[in-house]
């Protein structure tokens, strides 16, 4: 059956390797396993679909080496790479129009992708650290779902949920986004990026608060749970000296007692105004420096990626093969 679009692949070679391997007990996700996941995913795709394949050619050749081994034809997107998150953002922009995109990475990878294509149809597979956005799922059937989605003309609305996005407007600077959480901290540097010191937390906006998750979502989850499907955001004001505390999983293998000033839910579109100095952490990584008096406004909207539910696709189609 002719496909209604290509299937895109973006695998982030840098995910799952930050300092939380030492400051916490985060898993080590080496690139051999990522490449093996790509292989399994491609096999699943080809078992169900002849859809053209387009991919980001990363420095680690995660996708290219899998394609070569399997002998599958594919086109690399035409972007200049430099090994930074911008590679993923550029690849996303170049992949616009694809019927489905499989991402391998963590929250940061998917955030970088959404910066380039906000409402992409995504199948995000987790290879990162504190992953709230992508899911741990077997790549074989995820690839099959990607193939079926583009080949069977399945309406996206029937098998995918639109994700919420935190839109971050920063005075005098380029805007930014987060998919899970945006946090103002009292850090002075971006440094090794991962959020580390709970005593430096100032305020946060979350799109979901899940006690089964790890990171900011855990803090919110043990305080005031908020589902990804709920049309609201959660706002937390922190106070390290507060007697009102919550014990939450700040990182894999690491619980901390977090002092809270207050929590409240916000409607979609409701602004949260934050002021520097400080550092804005987006989806768990320190990303943007705010100077003294520099303002940032955060708003959550439901205008993000269409996150495809693999099980829904496969269940809908059944096991009838091609």
């Amino acid at each position: 059956m002719p496909s209604r679009g290509a299937v895109g692949f973006v695998a982030n070679p840098a995910s799952g390797k930050d300092i939380r391997r030492v400051t916490a007990r985060a898993s080590v996700f080496d690139n051999q396993e990522k490449s093996a996941m790509v292989r399994r995913c491609l096999i699943g795709l080809r078992a169900m679909s002849d859809a053209p394949i387009r991919y980001l050619a990363d420095a680690n050749r995660l996708v290219e080496s899998a394609l070569e081994e399997l002998g599958f034809d594919a086109d690399a997107v035409d972007v200049e790479t430099n090994g930074s998150a911008a590679d993923t953002t550029q690849a996303a922009a170049a992949l616009r129009g694809a019927g489905a995109v499989v991402t391998l990475g963590g929250d940061g990878t998917n955030r970088a992708f959404a910066k380039g294509w906000l409402d992409a149809p995504l199948i995000p597979l987790s290879t990162g650290t504190n992953n709230a956005f992508p899911v741990m799922r077997e790549a074989t059937t995820a690839g099959a779902a990607a193939g079926l989605l583009v080949s069977r003309g399945i309406p996206l609305e029937a098998v995918a949920e639109r994700a919420k996005v935190i839109h971050v407007d920063i005075d005098r600077e380029a805007a930014d986004i987060a998919l899970i959480d945006a946090v103002l901290t009292a850090d002075r540097f971006i440094g090794a990026r991962a959020l580390d010191d709970p005593g430096k937390l100032i305020a946060a906006m979350l799109t979901r608060a899940d006690p089964a998750g790890v990171g900011m979502t855990s803090i919110g989850g043990f305080t005031r749970p908020l589902a990804a499907r709920a049309d609201a955001a959660l706002i937390i004001d922190f106070d390290a000296s507060s007697p009102h505390r919550v014990v939450a999983a700040l990182a894999p293998g690491r619980f901390e007692s977090i002092g809270l000033a207050r929590t409240r839910t916000a409607e979609l579109g409701e602004p949260l105004h934050l002021t520097g100095p400080g550092v804005l952490a987006l989806d768990g990584e320190r990303e943007r420096v705010l100077g003294p008096g520099q303002a940032a406004t955060l708003r959550t909207l439901r205008d993000g990626p269409w996150v495809v539910d693999v099980r829904s696709v496969l269940t809908r189609v059944g096991c009838g093969g091609r």
């Binding site: 840098a14 930050d18 030492v22 080590v28 420095a59 680690n60 430099n82 090794a192 580390d196 420096v289």
Partner: protein, 322 residues
């Protein structure tokens, strides 16, 4: 992780400036034919040595590489004795018999630069073994490159360090080239840190051009080692601004001017000074004054070396055999 005081930030900055200035002037001397032998200069990689060494005392050990000046300077090496060694004078750290690639000094815990690629890790592991045997809290840090991570000596050292939970930090300065060979042509991986899990230790990747990223990661890894929790492989992605040997080297075409220019946009000293100025920790004028002060000290070191005697021929065999 500890939060660095302003004094620590200024200390890191000064260590980087000392390396840059020493190496730049040493390069000038080498190109003018005033220094015998090959010089492998550390310009561009300063954030790694400074970000690690600021956590160490003279009680802690390091092993270095053929590109070792930066490590010694960051560990507290004195310019006059270093230049004297480079010039082959009797007042040098090794009485003029070691030269650029073999400077060692036990008072500083410097177990030696080393002309043999990959020779440092086993020496550091031996030092760390003595820490465990004597029940002290000294830590050994071994610096090596992406090329050295292919040597058997690295793998044997990593295995023993992890097996005995020795207080070692393996710092891979991945500058993308083993001498003139791009990394992609000498190993099938991009992240040397991926090798850590094969030995049972955590592997972490950080931006080696960002002094604070290195600082934070080294802090965590050294703390882990000192606490008796074993070794860490810390990979710092960096770049040398000069050629493999000297400044312009042999003018080979193994890398492009465009690639060099891209990395120079992220000069570790310029980036750090810009952030310190934003934080009102170090003004541009104060930074300039530090550069000038250090340059005067470097020039005094060169004068000291040029005025120093060459070794007495009667001492030819002294200090050579153990």
């Amino acid at each position: 992780m500890s939060t660095p005081s302003d004094d620590v930030l200024l200390d890191i900055h000064r260590r980087m400036v000392r390396i840059r200035t020493f190496e730049t002037e040493a390069g000038r001397m080498a190109e003018a034919g005033k220094i015998p032998g090959a010089l492998h200069l550390y310009v561009g990689e300063e954030a790694v040595a400074a970000g690690v060494m600021v956590h160490l005392s003279n009680e802690d050990w390091i092993t270095s590489t053929h590109r070792g000046h930066g490590h010694l300077i960051a560990k507290g090496g004195e310019f006059d004795r270093m230049f004297a060694e480079l010039f082959g004078r009797a007042t040098g750290y090794c009485r003029g018999k070691g030269g650029s690639m073999h400077i060692s000094n036990m008072d500083l815990g410097m177990l030696g630069a080393n002309g043999i690629v990959g020779a440092g890790p086993p020496i550091a592991v031996g030092a760390a073994f003595s820490t465990k045997y004597r029940n002290t809290d000294r830590v050994a840090v071994t610096f090596f490159g992406d090329g050295a991570s292919n040597e058997g000596s690295f793998h044997e050292a990593a295995n023993m360090a992890a097996l005995y939970k020795l207080p070692v930090v393996f710092v891979c300065e991945n500058n993308g080239y083993g001498e003139y060979t791009p990394q992609a042509k000498h190993q099938a991986i991009v992240d040397v840190a991926d090798r850590a899990s094969g030995y049972g230790m955590p592997g972490v990747v950080v931006d080696g051009m960002d002094a604070m990223a290195v600082y934070e990661a080294a802090d965590a890894a050294i703390e882990r080692a000192r606490a008796g929790d074993g070794p860490t492989l810390l990979e710092c992605k960096t770049y040398r601004f000069f050629d493999h040997v000297g400044v312009r080297g042999m003018g080979l075409t193994y890398r492009t001017d465009e690639e060099l220019a891209e990395w120079q946009k992220r000069d570790p000293i310029h980036m750090f000074e810009a952030r310190l100025a934003e934080l009102d920790v170090l003004s541009k004028d104060s930074a300039q004054a530090i550069h000038e002060e250090v340059l005067a000290e470097v020039r005094a070191g060169i004068e000291f070396a040029e005025a120093s005697p060459t070794p007495d021929p009667d001492t030819l065999l002294d200090d050579v055999y153990a």
